[in-house]
């Protein structure tokens, strides 16, 4: 009896380990619920601050890391809406956060979240008086998405005032003048994407921006082809195939994101999503 008591601890440990071993194998064989990498949840701001031990800068970084690791490949509009909310939270915690306004500019307005992007860029413009990029992007969004070239030009002029490079300041002023004169400029959007790709050290993100630039270039090619078609035939084409039949284009460009191109109800080129959804000039 005494010897049993002497070894009781070891016996219990062995028996428990056998039970543990019996549970391990069947548990590992069971299917696991897949972890969604898209943005699905946003917490109230004060909860985020409390979770970051009361430190709003840490809350900004934690939310910022979430937006950086979220996969945008299969995001639905609802996911982008939540991503926009998270990025607006980051801008509230730390409006000067450079990565936040950079990512917001690269992702959000191209996926229907122009208002959120402008809020983030406005906060960055106020809190980063030394940085010319937030007012430039704010102005570009006014021009490209909101079709307000005159207001956009005002922000481009503010960007030129902040630029420390004399040549760059002159170019920005020239750009502002062009916006007022010509309105939308798809070529500028292409150049902006390439410049943003050059500015990041993340190769995968730079590749993403390069793909977007290629998509915009393709849309630019199609825009010009549609204009040529209209001059020749007198009407807008109903489908892109008509551009090939009329020999305006040798072949249709291939979308780098694996989606397709089509024409909207006004006969203008646009991106058609995998489900046939018209996605606009993303």
């Amino acid at each position: 009896m005494d010897s049993l008591r002497h070894y009781a601890g070891g016996i219990v440990a062995c028996l428990c380990y056998v039970a543990y071993a019996c549970a391990v194998q069947p548990l590992y064989q069971r299917p696991r619920p897949s972890v969604s990498v898209e943005m699905q949840v946003v917490l109230p701001r004060f909860v985020q601050v409390i979770l970051a031990a009361g430190d709003r800068y840490l809350a900004a970084n934690l939310a910022g890391f979430r937006t950086l690791v979220a996969s945008t490949a299969n995001m639905e509009p609802e996911n982008f809406r939540i991503q926009a909310l998270v990025q607006m939270d980051v801008a509230w915690f730390n409006p000067a956060h450079e990565d936040n306004y950079y990512l917001a500019t690269a992702l959000l307005p191209w996926n229907g979240q122009v208002g959120a992007t402008q809020t983030i860029l406005e906060a960055a413009t106020r809190s980063r008086p030394f940085d010319w990029l937030p007012p430039f992007h704010y102005g570009f969004n006014l021009l490209h998405f909101l079709k307000q070239p005159a207001e956009g030009a005002e922000w481009a002029r503010l960007a030129s005032e902040r630029s420390t490079d004399e040549m760059q300041a002159l170019q920005l002023q020239q750009m502002a003048a062009n916006w007022v004169a010509k309105g939308e400029d798809l070529g500028l959007a292409v150049r902006m994407h390439r410049a943003m790709a050059d500015q990041t050290r993340h190769k995968a993100f730079a590749a993403f921006l390069e793909k977007r630039a290629t998509r915009l270039e393709n849309l630019l090619v199609l825009e010009k082809a549609v204009d040529t078609y209209r001059q020749r035939v007198g009407t807008f084409p109903v489908s892109l195939q008509q551009l090939l039949k009329e020999n305006v284009l040798a072949d249709l460009p291939i979308d780098p994101f694996g989606e397709g191109y089509g024409l909207d109800s006004n006969g203008r080129p646009t991106v058609i999503g995998r489900g046939g959804r018209v996605r606009g000039k993303e």
Binding site: A52, V69, A96, F130, H202
Partner: protein, 267 residues
């Protein structure tokens, strides 16, 4: 007072908690270094930002554990009775212990700040970010702000240690105070701007916060990290008021601690 200060200083280095929390601080500096790899445009700024957050967290824990070790535990074990047998006033004991804690926190601040300084400059080699961080005086002034913030947390924990009859209460309340005092500014900002349209929450929390700001200091005013991170110096008037707020609140807490400790009976 000098002998209590020196005994605190020596006891601080002898205690295991000193090294435990210090290694936590070193680990957090390591996390700051790794955090830089998440940033596409400003790796050094992110390393500095995360580093300051970890730095403040580690130092707050360090100060709370030190006060708990040097005052709370002595009272709990009644060894304080032997200490008070010296021909010195009780107020001298409390002030000496507090000065010792502040000196230990200052020493830890300098070492951790130097480590963070190296980690930030070493973060992301081969990439020159467009807006460099300022690692001269602005950096050390921001470190000073964190030290002052932790000094207030230590003063509060000291007061709780002198009135508490439960061993872990100073530790628990010290941590709650450190979080609440830091979050107060952000929460006040959130509620005063309408709480994202949650009118009921804003209406309920507004009056509570109005009372809370007279009892809990808003230590976010001592966070001057935007200066080294973005080169934008905080408003000098706001900085000075933040320092006055912190010093006066710490003075109130030390005064209350002396008052409570002087009247406490040790049976």
């Amino acid at each position: 007072m000098k002998q209590f200060f020196l005994s605190s200083w020596r006891a601080g280095f002898r205690g295991r908690s000193f090294y435990g929390v210090f290694f936590l601080g070193v680990a957090l500096v390591g996390v700051a270094y790794l955090a830089a790899s998440f940033s596409p445009r400003q790796p050094q700024t992110v390393a500095l930002d995360v580093g300051f957050s970890g730095f403040r967290l580690a130092l707050s824990l360090f100060a709370i554990v030190l006060v708990q070790d040097l005052v709370g535990r002595e009272i709990d074990r009644r060894t304080v009775v032997l200490t008070l047998a010296y021909p010195a006033g009780r107020s001298t004991y409390v002030c000496g212990r507090y000065a010792g804690v502040l000196a230990l926190v200052a020493a830890a601040s300098i070492v951790l700040a130097m480590l963070l300084w190296i980690a930030v400059l070493a973060a992301s080699p081969g990439y020159d970010q467009q807006f460099p961080v300022l690692m001269g005086w602005p950096y050390w002034i921001a470190v000073g702000g964190i030290w002052l913030d932790v000094a207030v947390v230590a003063a509060f924990t000291l007061w709780i240690s002198t009135v508490s009859t439960v061993a872990v209460l100073p530790l628990a309340l010290g941590i709650v105070f450190a979080i609440a005092s830091r979050a107060l500014g952000a929460v006040f900002d959130y509620i005063s701007h309408g709480a994202d349209g949650q009118e009921v929450l804003a209406a309920r929390a507004g009056p509570i916060l109005d009372v809370a700001r007279w009892l809990v200091p808003d230590l976010s005013h001592l966070d001057w990290r935007i200066w080294p991170m973005y080169g934008t110096a905080p408003d000098p008037g706001a900085m000075a008021l933040g320092v006055v707020l912190a010093l006066s609140y710490a003075g109130v807490m030390v005064g209350l601690a002396v008052h409570a400790f002087s009247r406490r009976e040790f049976s």
